[in-house]
Symmetry: C2
DNA sequence: GGTTAGCACTCTTCTTTTTTTAGTGCTAAC
DNA sequence: GTTAGCACTAAAAAAAGAAGAGTGCTAACC
């Protein structure tokens, strides 16, 4: 109990072995099966297991069952034991073929990657992308439809385009809207997209206030258009939802339905959104995942072209940590163009 | 066997009762439970049941179980027995609140409806929308980014906007692209969007062929942009995926996983796509559903503004047929603006 | 002191048996 | 044509038994 047992090398090796076996087999791991690997008898292993259990790294389902890793165990593994290996040739090859296809736009590449990762790993992957603030306003166009309807098209230097439709009040003069758009194009081009609203209010609004009587309506149109650009511009893609459902530990309808619900629910967007602190990669196990106590979420930031975001892999707690981490890192390096190619 | 038994009124009432009870309870229906409703003894009902079974409208799981409707039974019900009722006040109210919200654009309204239907019925709903061919070209804009990149923005009179990015070959003159876009804006405005490619080839291409040396590159850009507009512009929305999974008949992991797979698979887009013949509403039961033998799909066409498409409701075979049909019809009338409001 | 063989014990899982229950088909009487 | 009565069936639920995997502990071993 109160014993301060230290985590010696054999205990580490044992924990590593237990976790990696469990990841493969999804069965509680018994002392017998580890004899060869650890080069000692099952009795010795059992003794060590008791120690590991007291430390909280492994647990058992019932008094005479094999051991399974605890959440703390996985956490210890991730922090101290795992060694992200090189990608296998197979994994590497598949990824390479994607990136050699130059035609892909950034966000296509990310999405495509996502699919591949889901495919290779059999987990679910999610990407939450956002237009980064280094997008600069390139141009805003007004297109005049019938019936007092107009469309405002906003475009940035990174090539991101968004549009929004408005119905003008009866008495609004479309010409004035178009003139204002021209003014914006003269004054605000090159402004970081998140600063546009501000400049619109303090630089453009005062000017049009003098020239146009219904200036508030006109102002609001552009305000809305830019505002929408910022808000709307979070796009989320999910790939391989069912993969997760098919993981063998979810073998009852309860679990499956619960997880399927969560995967469809929009709220899981929040879950992906942020990596706390400013680490590039972070692993959230069980409770911490903010999604479901029976999963692990691995998040990885990326930033490329006009877009930045987070990729998240959702898998069972007995995830192939090493592989997924390698895969993610490799992929993001490619996307960010850090590989010199 | 060879008996030609006729479907008299009592048999009809019995079949209707069996189906509607089964829809509610999801349990095989026994003769006893129907005595009150049919006003006769269980023995009589059993006799009639034998007749219905011979006709193929009901079946039993094993020799001493109650009866469940067969696929043919559902089909008979849908064709002869059900009477789409008026919506309940509750259903009506929820729908009304959506439509009173004038700000919704068409496609938003459809999507919103979808969510409500999934919510009310606990089935899965899908909409496959397409820009209808009565969209006319309104305008095409070229936006010039750095690095030989340009964006082509295509807009129709119904206010649908699409954009596509291109990287120009080194030696292409951007001015010429812009000039061509202006020419298109003069010549092709008002052309049905599906005809634009053709006119582009036979009316515009010959002209630019004379003026521009690299005319093929320029032509291809616009060709691609318009082509993409047509291809891209099928949008599919799914709502309430999990609802279907939660239906009580899918009480084993097998079924749930299989159906979840199909719901995520893109191929189910094909399933939704068309209603054969030119009926407005059609019901596909089991095998016919083209999706899964354990579901029913009800499809309903709609057409509104610049968009047309099909709404499909996917539910268990023991679907609340009457309610769903009423709901769909009511909803589509509203969307199409046929209610005079 | 750490390591190991041996063994009783525990819990799960699988198989078999028994009981209960819902509902049928058929016969004979109304 | 309708109904009561009854033997019969199959499923589902509950109970009982057998097999297996793995543990904890003790005592002997190096």
């Amino acid at each position: 109990m109160g014993d301060k047992v230290i985590m010696d090398d054999r205990k580490k090796a044992l924990l590593k072995e237990i976790i990696e076996t469990y990841v493969k087999t999804v069965r509680p791991v018994g002392s017998n099966s580890l004899c060869k690997k650890l080069k000692c008898s099952s009795a010795t292993i059992r003794n060590e297991m008791v120690a590991l259990e007291n430390m909280g790294y492994i647990e058992k389902n019932h008094i005479s069952s094999g051991r399974i890793p605890s959440e703390a165990g996985y956490k210890y593994y991730v922090e101290h034991l795992m060694q992200p290996k090189d990608l296998t040739g197979e994994d590497m090859l598949k990824l390479q073929t994607i990136f050699n296809n130059n035609e892909l736009e950034v966000s296509d590449a990310v999405t495509k990657c996502l699919e591949i990762i889901s495919d290779l790993t059999n987990y679910t992957s999610v990407v939450l992308g956002k237009n980064s603030n280094d997008n600069l306003l390139k141009q805003v166009n007004i297109i005049n439809l019938d019936n007092n309807k107009i469309i405002a098209v906003v475009c940035t230097d990174k090539g991101i385009v968004e549009n929004k439709q408005f119905t003008l009040p009866e008495n609004t003069n479309i010409e004035e809207v178009i003139k204002t758009s021209e003014m914006i194009n003269k004054m605000l081009i090159g402004t970081p997209i998140n600063m546009v609203s501000e400049k619109l209010e303090f630089e453009v609004k005062p000017i049009i206030a003098k020239k146009i009587k219904d200036y508030n309506t006109v102002y609001n149109i552009f305000y809305d258009a830019f505002h929408d650009f910022l808000v709307h511009n979070t796009n989320i893609h999910v790939s391989g939802r069912v993969n997760l459902l098919k993981e063998p530990e979810y073998d009852n309808t309860e679990d499956i339905k619960r997880i399927a619900s969560k995967l469809e629910d929009e709220s899981f967007q929040d879950m992906v959104s942020k990596i706390d602190g400013n680490e590039e990669l972070k692993i959230y196990i069980g409770e911490e995942s903010n999604f479901d106590e029976n999963v692990t979420v691995i998040k990885r930031k990326y930033k490329s072209g006009g877009e930045e975001g987070t990729i998240a892999i959702i898998g069972p707690k007995r995830m192939e940590y090493e592989r997924v981490v390698s895969l993610l890192n490799y992929m993001v390096d490619k996307i960010e163009g850090k590989d010199g190619k």
